[in-house]
Symmetry: C2
Subunit: 164 residues, 2 copies
């Protein structure tokens, strides 16, 4: 099962390397990963989507917590969390689909970044669960040239002890 | 100066580790980084925002290209590229600002994910250059509890040789 783990890291050289090294040396899968600053410039947030049984995920979390620079972490897999993703897509449109893709962009509340003769670029924000379905639908409008995905961003509902 | 480098990677164990290791061992800064699949499941795209003189950036690119699993890369810093970022923000609102923050969310074309008594969660997509200004403005509505940022997603304008 897919799990989304959110990790607060001291923003120091080698912090990302240690996390990536743990996943690599133990053979844990990384579906997506992103790391960026929080509002505190000394702390970054790293979110990693991985797969495994509950037991393996528990192992990963325990090992992560032992790493230098890991302040705290939370498994954000259940419905108590927002899980969102940003995707940029560039499509070479088939003829005559301009209106229908604009309508679909409207349904998705997507932002059209560019419309040229030979390319159409849109930006979509959605639950990561829906991205596959959205890509399938977009393929009906033309050839997908480029996909850039952020990976999952996760945030806990309500006010809790993992805010930063 | 900040540079956004987009890297196509073979999706193999240790690929991320080698990239992170290069930045760490040479002391190159990482402002943000994300890695996620492209539409080809054997290829991932890694985007890293780093800082340095043109000479240093050229060094980084040359060294990255020598790494196992790096297929290709492109410096996506100039105006020939879309540079977008997703940010989730949770705010403890001051009294009486509900209407004004909803109006601001409308101006940003932001999506309100949650409104509870003690927290307000919105999702904002914008050029990464504007995120600092947006955060400053959001602080006028209350205390910012959590910020989750994707880091920069970059895509080349038009149709080129770096589509994937």
């Amino acid at each position: 099962m897919k799990h989304t783990i959110s990790i607060l890291l001291q923003n120091e050289a080698g912090a990302l390397l240690r996390v990536a090294g743990l996943f690599s040396s133990r053979g844990y899968n990384i579906d997506s990963l992103h790391v960026a600053p929080t509002q505190d410039t000394s702390v970054s947030r790293l979110t990693v989507v991985t797969r495994g049984s509950d037991e393996v995920i528990q192992q990963i979390c325990n090992q992560l917590l032992k790493l230098v620079n890991v302040i705290d972490l939370m498994d954000m897999t259940d419905d108590m969390h927002f899980q969102r993703e940003l995707m940029l897509v560039k499509i070479h449109l088939n003829k005559g689909v301009q209106n229908s893709i604009q309508q679909y962009a409207g349904e998705l509340n997507a932002n059209i970044l560019d419309q040229e003769r030979d390319s159409f670029v849109m930006e979509i924000t959605a639950s990561y669960r829906h991205m596959g379905t959205i890509l399938e639908r977009l393929r009906t409008f033309g050839e997908i040239l480029t996909v850039v995905r952020s990976g999952t961003l996760a945030m806990r509902h309500g006010v809790g002890n993992f805010d930063h």
